[in-house]
């Protein structure tokens, strides 16, 4: 929260202020970070991501004879595959920031997906009639509501009955996986509602070229507005502001990233088979341009929307402020009059809601709900949050970091599949990366204290 602002340029009063803002000995890079208010950790994460991407690409090139990683097709798939984990990771940030953990998200995802599938295929058609257009909408809402209730129940046990989150959610890990099995007696339920499966991506679950440019344009406008707005606010109170060059640099980099992302998703075309089918169906003019861009996949847009909403919640609202204050010092938060138990319950309920949403994405992508859906997701989600800079000691973490962390985890996973590592090695790598990330966090905190 605070990392977004400049330190005051005025000279401070105590020798404890070693890093006084006008320190001449400070390196150019540190000064750059301070002026732009870019988090050094964020840069580190982006660096690690680039290394992973280029590493897999080159490995493919030299060892396997074909470099596939940095192809638009792979990167596009990567964005889709990240969505479900990414959505949950934004909630896990708040859970871990308050010094809790949620080990149950994978199983809750499986349970919610199964519950939604049953509503969609068995229950709602009987009530509304087969093929009713509202079936998938109601099913999705029920799934998210179910996730919220499960999360709230976990939160109640943790906050009000004082059972450690580790235990409650470890129990939940087993209970909800078992419950998912019982719901459909282990059956796989196929989902074929077109509108529902669009939520999982695929050629039909993407918004196309023009709409993607519109999204990109809105993103640029949003970036420029927020930079302008925060500068105006600081000027209004005559607070120190960032130097002009830093503002412009941030605007250029932000908009550049948005435009680059749009260009990327637009350079992945529909596969030939689907183009042919659409020509046969008369939906595409065979003499026109047959390079049909996917554009943003719908689950990716869901993740972006969740990311923005959760960032807003974490940094601009009382609830978010309380989450961080509780993480920093639970006793102080209580003494300041914050209802710590109630906030804790809400955090877990929110985690549950996001898990329900992730269940929508995951089952829509698979076109079915299976008993094993979401298995091991809790590890990916926790790893994403921790790699993204959420400290297990509490009080520290960002939403964008967790989403980047999810991209890192998914890049590792996808990359290992691409170059042909088998599942056993993939698991080992994920485990090692998780431990390493926590170790790096410990080191980082020891240094910055």
């Amino acid at each position: 929260m605070y990392d977004k602002f400049t330190r005051d340029s005025a000279v401070s009063d105590k020798p404890a202020n070693q890093g006084a803002a006008l320190d001449e000995n400070e390196g150019a890079f540190t000064r750059f970070l301070r002026a732009t208010e870019i988090d050094a950790r964020l840069l580190g994460m982006i660096g690690a991501l680039l290394i992973i991407w280029i590493g897999f690409h080159l490995y493919g090139h030299f060892v396997n004879g074909f470099a596939a990683f940095l192809k638009p097709r792979n990167l596009w798939n990567l964005t889709v595959q990240t969505s479900s984990i990414g959505v949950m990771a934004t909630g896990m940030v708040l859970v871990i920031v308050t010094r809790h953990i949620d080990l149950s998200v994978g199983s809750v995802l499986g349970f919610c997906a199964m519950f939604m599938a049953i509503m969609q295929v068995w229950v709602l058609p009987d009530i509304l009639g087969l093929g009713h257009p509202m079936i998938w909408v109601i099913a999705v809402l029920c799934g998210i509501l179910m996730g919220t209730l499960i999360g709230a129940f976990h939160g109640y046990l943790i906050a009000y009955l004082q059972i450690p989150a580790f235990i409650v959610t470890l129990g939940g890990l087993l209970v909800w996986r078992g419950a998912a099995f019982l719901l459909a007696r282990g059956e796989t339920i196929p989902l074929d509602d077109e509108n529902f499966t669009k939520l999982g991506g695929g050629p039909y679950g993407a918004i196309g070229e023009t709409a993607s440019w519109i999204v990109g344009g809105l993103a640029c406008a949003g970036i420029l507005f927020s930079i302008w707005h925060s500068r105006r606010q600081r000027l209004r109170f005559q607070f120190p502001t960032k130097p002009m060059w830093a503002e412009i640099l941030l605007a250029v980099v932000g908009c550049g990233l948005a435009i680059g992302f749009v260009t990327l998703v637009n350079s992945h075309p529909w596969p030939k088979g689907i183009v042919k089918r659409e020509i046969a169906a008369g939906n595409i003019d065979p003499n026109g341009d047959l390079f049909i861009s996917h554009g943003f996949a719908i689950p990716v847009l869901i993740l972006l929307a969740v990311g923005i909403a959760m960032t807003f919640l974490a940094t601009r609202t009382r609830f978010g402020r309380y989450v961080f204050a509780i993480g920093g010092n639970p006793e102080a938060a209580e003494l300041a009059g914050i209802n710590v138990k109630w906030v804790t319950l809400k955090i877990f309920a929110l985690m549950g809601a996001l898990t329900g949403l992730a269940a929508v994405i995951a089952s829509a992508r698979l076109n079915s709900a299976t008993n094993a859906l979401g298995t091991f997701d809790e590890l990916y989600v926790i790893a994403a949050a921790v790699i993204g800079g959420t400290s297990l000691a509490g009080g520290l973490g960002t939403i964008y970091g967790a989403i980047l962390g999810a991209v890192v985890m998914q890049s590792l996973q996808t990359g290992m599949v691409l170059i042909g590592f088998d599942a056993a090695i993939q698991q080992m790598v994920v485990g090692i990366v998780l431990v390493l990330a926590v170790f790096l966090d410990t080191l980082y905190r020891r240094r910055s204290d």
Partner: protein
């Protein structure tokens, strides 16, 4: 009632603590303690470390739930079950442990639990920072590090943040638990000045210390605790420092003091 005798127009107590008790696992940390505070009065609460001073005032501030006893504010029975309740009565507390959230900045700490919001219902960080700059300017004019997590501040600066938070919301009753523990002489003088100022505004102050020198010149009355019990109350002008030391160390009440349940029995 027509005889406007000074005794009769004496205002009613701002706070009355009556027979408060609390124990932790069988140990009576506070045992049948009663005291009162008038508007504009500074009461020094003295006693050795472990005497029960912090525990007693934490009952008033809502941090602990008492086992027994009653609290009256403005003569009316008060219900204080948590810190929110206490704040609603205008009771602000500077805890001995400071109780600041280390990972958020000074402005966020000042407004913790009572954030200013914009008309959109979002946090109004700039407005909070502006107010924080004003109130901190009164306490610690050199302070400029508004946007850094509090854990990066020095002990004195953190203490200023805790004090600023308590005076920001127009407290009527201020509890200061060893407020100058981490402060240098200059900042301590500033706090003394602040106490005079707040007293003039009619705020009642409990000033807690284990060191008699911290409070003797500031307090109108002193109350001494020992082993969870009140040894006695005395007007500062009626007793000497040595007599108060005798109360603290031996539990011996001088003649001008009003003895409490913890006063030493006069054996001879």
């Amino acid at each position: 009632m027509s005889t406007a005798n000074v005794q009769n127009i004496k205002a009613e107590p701002l706070v009355e603590l009556k027979n408060l008790s609390i124990s932790f696992g069988g140990i009576k940390a506070v045992d049948n303690a009663s005291m009162e505070l008038m508007p504009g009065e500074v009461v020094g609460l003295l006693g050795h470390n472990g005497a029960g001073k912090s525990t007693l005032i934490k009952i008033l501030s809502g941090a602990y739930k008492r086992d027994d006893g009653e609290i009256f504010i403005d003569g009316e029975k008060a219900t204080i079950n948590n810190p929110r309740d206490a704040k609603a009565y205008g009771i602000e507390t500077i805890y001995q442990t400071l109780a600041v959230a280390d990972n958020v900045d000074a402005a966020a700490n000042l407004y913790l639990g009572r954030e200013l919001q914009t008309s959109w219902g979002t946090l109004d960080d700039v407005a909070m920072e502006a107010e924080a700059r004003k109130v901190m300017g009164r306490l610690n004019p050199n302070f400029q590090r508004f946007k850094e997590p509090v854990k990066k501040l020095s002990g004195g600066q953190r203490q200023s943040v805790a004090i600023a938070r308590a005076i920001l919301f127009n407290a009527r009753i201020l509890i200061m638990d060893e407020p100058t523990a981490a402060l240098g002489p200059q900042e301590t003088a500033q706090v003394a000045e602040l106490i005079h100022q707040l007293k003039k505004e009619g705020i009642g102050i409990f000033l807690i210390s284990h060191d008699i020198h911290d409070v003797f010149d500031l307090a109108d009355r002193v109350t001494v605790m020992k082993n969870g019990q009140i040894v006695g109350h005395a007007k500062t002008e009626d007793v000497t420092k040595d007599e108060v030391l005798g109360m603290i160390i031996l539990g011996k009440c001088p003649t001008k003091a009003i003895p409490g349940p913890g006063a030493m029995e006069e054996s001879d």
